[in-house]
């Protein structure tokens, strides 16, 4: 076999191996449909607007089943999580998101709970401090406080002492 022909064969073989190696991941990605876990990873971040307060991944209605199918379809088309979520917001409104977008009055949902907790903690802290450290009275007042409450008690104690 002439040397040039052998070299050409090697080049063709190398080309075939390389193209197979490079093409195979793309083929695998295109042929494998998205798994239920991949679909549910996005679905659980969305809520069914028909039956309120039900995440899309566990919602049993036909509408939610259709939306999960739509997520699957969009994933198979190569669309990303952010893109899919944006599609749902555009079509069904921001209320489908499990976290309201950080804009406008929605900020209240993020700010009020931590502020309320902080305020509550401050109130509890002040109350505890007041209970732990009762106000110390002046020595004069203290000795006065140690004294018998009234004359009757003083006389009673005196009588007891005398009898003993």
């Amino acid at each position: 076999m002439p040397r040039t022909l052998r070299n050409t064969k090697y080049v063709i073989l190398l080309f075939l191996i390389l193209t197979t190696l490079l093409a195979s991941p793309a083929f695998a990605q295109g042929s494998n449909p998205p798994t239920d876990d991949e679909v549910n990873a996005i679905a659980k971040q969305l809520y069914c607007p028909v039956c309120e307060n039900t995440p899309l991944d566990v919602c049993p209605t036909q509408a939610c089943a259709q939306w999960r199918d739509l997520i699957r379809l969009m994933l198979s088309q190569g669309k990303g999580e952010a893109e899919i979520k944006q599609y749902f917001v555009d079509n069904y409104g921001a209320r489908v998101l499990n976290e309201p977008p950080r804009s406008g009055l929605n900020w209240l949902a993020y700010l009020v709970p931590p502020l309320a907790i902080l305020a509550g903690a401050f109130i509890v802290f002040r109350a505890l401090r007041a209970w732990k450290k009762p106000a110390t009275a002046s020595p004069a007042l203290q000795s006065e406080a140690d004294a018998p409450a009234d004359d009757y008690v003083a006389r009673l104690e005196e009588e007891v002492r005398k009898r003993n």
Partner: protein, 191 residues
């Protein structure tokens, strides 16, 4: 004894902070009140003027060749807006009746039927429209803007609006016969 209870003077919360906290609480309560009130209002009521809105339309279901319909352009005609969804079984009960009514009034040019597809997916919506042979203008209620405008409580709901853009009748739930639909439209056409 009374002297013993006299605590050492404690630092009071500044007045400005107290005012701020109370104002914030009142503001929050007012916001909650307004939101709750809005939610309990129910659908728009007969006699209400319907504000202008626009809605995109599905390809093949355009209004006078336009891919978007503006409510203001429908003035002078009786408008029937039907909220539906492909996943809604009761909607199927009235789909054929609505189409029959549309076919009856379409030649007159005095009535507009508009279908608003509520929280649905387009492929299933198209299957539904094809299944019931619906030909009147239909489109997705993008972002549920139109349904929020009408404050719908579910699907199906149908709104009959007179030539001046005033809501005249609301049908909650499906129509059971085409006669019921015609009765509403005829009374508005007669005005």
């Amino acid at each position: 004894m009374t002297e013993m209870n006299e605590a050492a003077p404690r630092r009071a919360v500044p007045l400005w902070a107290q005012i701020f906290v109370f104002a914030a609480l009142i503001g929050l309560l007012a916001l909650v009140g307004v939101t709750l009130n809005k939610r309990q209002q129910g659908t728009v009521q007969p006699g209400d003027q319907i504000p202008d809105f626009s809605m995109p339309l599905f390809s093949g279901y355009e209004y006078e060749g336009k891919s978007e319909v503006r409510f203001a352009d429908l003035r002078g005609k009786v408008t029937v807006i039907n909220f539906w969804a492909s996943w809604c079984k009761p909607c199927e009960q009235e789909a054929a009746e609505l189409q029959e009514a549309w076919e009856y009034y379409e030649p007159t040019g005095a009535v507009v039927f508009l279908g608003a597809d509520y929280v649905d997916t387009e492929p299933e919506a198209r299957v539904y429209l094809k299944k019931f042979g619906i030909t009147f203008a239909n489109g997705p209620d993008m972002g549920t803007r139109v349904s929020q405008l009408f404050r719908i409580k579910g699907v199906p709901e149908t709104y009959f609006i007179d030539k001046r853009g005033v809501l005249r009748y609301v049908q909650v739930g499906p129509f059971l016969s085409v006669t019921d639909i015609q009765k509403q439209i005829d009374s508005l056409l007669a005005e």
